[in-house]
């Protein structure tokens, strides 16, 4: 006997709520039905990936009202644990923007039935389930309409009355399927379900009913996509360094942006912050008809910075968040570090490096240097006041950028101290730095 419990989530308005905007026009009925199913399937796939963080055994069914089942194993022995989990899941569904009804029972069919009742939707044992079903109207049973009508005309009104009938009589009168359903409902017969398999790469698509013209209007569907993505990452116990957002347009090739992190991450709030910066800068070539989120590479969650909380680690994480934001808005090449280089030529004695490049050891052996350098030496008149120097710098003949210069500290009229040199080859004077 299995102690497994099934959580069933009924999503009565999945198709409507999966669309971030209401369709402007509906095509013919057949097309509309096919489209509805496609939208529901896409939404259900995303929801299953999201729900994988709570249970690794789940399945769904796209019926009139789509159903998603999560199996909770015997490990969660305490019913209190289930209640807390259920509250978390319901809060998550609300956050995602889906109307839902959840129920918990020792059988999938039982849980599905209990999503239809107003209260007392959670039972943990088979006897509790049977007792709970006893007084419920038989119209809640997922049996064919004619079977329900026949039971009704036989004078039966409550599920308890149906369950009291001999199994052989039901099988004979209403067919073996009805008998099997009732046995499964009570948990008396096994009810194997096609287990949903978590995909190895993540690709979620969110279609809009009408075109979205404003990037800020994308934030709601984006938030939902990112929350679902977070669930997927938690479920797989992994993290990402980058993911791609693709914007589909009618009659125009899709545009996309890749959001990169400096450290593996799986926090939806962090993703949203970064995506937001990017969206503000993004100029979309056409209105958006659908939004896709794709991630191909994953890293182990053990290296996720958010998982430990030493003060240094926390500080590093804060810094990475800042730098990721800056890069998302300003561009990757705009966030830099500086380092010294072993070269006598002042303009080559330093270098800009990106965040990811490892920094070389600092070289401070040269004579005193100013804190401020011009981007390029600027030709000047010979200075009137030389305060110190010269310092001769000759080098670079081997790489063609040879320099032969005498450096001085010069005084300017406004009191500034300038770092100047005379090019010994041409005799001209240049300003290269400031003693700021």
């Amino acid at each position: 006997m299995s102690a497994a419990l099934w959580l069933c989530i009924r999503l009565p308005q999945l198709a409507q709520q999966a669309l971030a905007a209401i369709p402007e026009h509906s095509a013919n009925i057949e097309d509309a039905a096919a489209r509805r199913t496609a939208i529901e399937r896409a939404a259900m796939e995303r929801l299953a990936a999201w729900a994988y963080q709570w249970s690794s055994l789940l399945s769904y069914r796209l019926a009139d009202e789509p159903l998603l089942w999560l199996e909770f194993g015997a490990s969660r022995a305490l019913f209190g644990g289930h209640a807390a989990l259920l509250a978390k899941i319901e809060a998550g569904l609300t956050q995602l923007g889906y109307s839902h009804a959840c129920a918990l029972a020792p059988s999938p069919a039982g849980a599905a039935l209990l999503t239809l009742v107003e209260q007392e939707r959670c039972v943990s044992t088979r006897s509790q389930l049977r007792a709970r079903l006893q007084m419920l109207p038989l119209s809640l049973l997922a049996l064919p309409q004619e079977v329900l009508a026949a039971l009704h005309s036989a004078g039966l009104r409550r599920i308890g009355q149906v369950l009291a009938l001999p199994a052989a009589a039901i099988a004979r009168r209403f067919g073996p399927d009805s008998n099997l359903y009732l046995r499964r409902l009570c948990g008396a017969a096994s009810d194997p379900r096609p287990a949903w398999r978590i995909p190895a790469i993540y690709r979620a698509r969110c279609e809009f009913g009408s075109e979205v013209r404003d990037t800020t209007a994308l934030l709601f569907p984006l938030r939902r996509l990112l929350l679902e993505f977070q669930g997927y990452l938690r479920g797989r116990d992994c993290a990402v360094l980058r993911f791609t957002l693709q914007f589909e347009h009618y009659r125009h090739p899709a545009s996309s942006v890749t959001i990169g992190m400096s450290a593996p991450a799986r926090d939806a709030a962090q993703f949203l912050l970064l995506a937001r910066e990017r969206l503000q800068e993004l100029l979309l070539p056409a209105p958006v008809s659908a939004l896709c989120l794709q991630a191909l590479e994953f890293t182990a969650a053990s290296v996720v910075q958010t998982d430990f909380f030493g003060s240094d680690a926390q500080q590093l994480q804060q810094l990475q968040l800042l730098l990721d934001r800056l890069q998302a808005r300003l561009g990757d090449a705009q966030v830099l570090r500086v380092q010294t280089e072993a070269d006598h030529r002042p303009e080559r004695a330093w270098r800009l490096i990106t965040r990811q490049q490892p920094a070389a050891a600092t070289d401070t052996a040269a004579p005193a240097r100013p804190c401020t350098l011009l981007h390029n030496p600027r030709r000047i008149e010979p200075p009137a006041l030389l305060l110190s120097g010269p310092e001769r710098i000759e080098s670079g003949w081997w790489d063609g950028a040879d320099a032969s210069r005498d450096y001085y500290v010069a005084g300017a009229e406004d009191g500034a101290r300038l770092w100047v040199f005379q090019d010994l080859a041409e005799g001209a004077w240049y300003l290269q730095g400031l003693w700021s």
């Binding site: 810094l319 966030v335 500086v338 005193a368 401020t372 009191g415 101290r417 003693w435």
Partner: protein, 210 residues
């Protein structure tokens, strides 16, 4: 005789009450004892914005800051340079003791981006100080940066043109910098919780090769 307080009396009472609570603003020593002695808390205000209005570029306006930047960096915090008009020269900064691995250089394309980046950086607890050179800035911008610095516990430094000294500003500290033969003349134009109006002579780092 009226028992009502005048506004002035009320303001003084509030100030006194603040003082008696011992709520001294946190500060980081500047590395120049004569300056520390004139600043409340004994140094640069932490969690606040300071404006430096320099007569010219190249009179030691950056050397004045390098000791506090180095101190913050050695304490493990980062120094963000937002769109400086000239390159922060790594060899010179390293010679003055600034750990380069704590220096971040943020390039921007507009004043708006610079202000945004400065605000983000000031809010980040990993950042010790943010240096900005806004071409034009209004009180509202300074106030935003001030709030960001408070939130992040960081020091915001704004280099502003000398003309800015004619206007008022919500910055906690405003210093005018003039060239002086032996270094720098620092005029305290505004100092929240301290005394303004004094001018100090400060010998900034030597400029001449030994």
């Amino acid at each position: 005789m009226s028992t009502a307080l005048t506004l002035e009396q009320l303001a003084r009472l509030c100030r006194d009450a603040e003082g008696s609570r011992g709520a001294r603003p946190p500060a980081a020593p500047s590395g120049f004892p004569e300056l520390d002695a004139s600043l409340p808390g004994g140094g640069w205000p932490i969690g606040a914005v300071a404006e430096l209005m320099s007569d010219a570029i190249g009179i030691g306006e950056l050397s004045l800051l390098v000791p506090v930047l180095s101190r913050l960096a050695r304490a493990g915090r980062y120094i963000a340079w937002i769109a400086p008009p000239y390159l922060p020269y790594a060899p010179g900064l390293a010679q003055r003791g600034l750990p380069l691995e704590r220096v971040l250089l943020i390039r921007t394309r507009s004043l708006q981006e610079s202000l945004w980046a400065a605000e983000q950086a000031l809010r980040c607890p990993a950042i010790g100080a943010v240096l900005g050179w806004p071409a034009y800035i209004v009180d509202r911008n300074v106030r935003r940066l001030q709030l960001a610095a408070e939130a992040g516990g960081s020091l915001g430094i704004l280099y502003r043109p000398p003309e800015a000294a004619r206007e008022s500003s919500p910055a906690a500290l405003r210093l005018r910098l003039h060239a002086a033969p032996d270094g720098l003349a620092v005029e305290i134009q505004k100092c929240r919780g301290g005394v303004a109006g004094r001018t100090l002579r400060i010998g900034v780092a030597p400029t001449v090769a030994a």
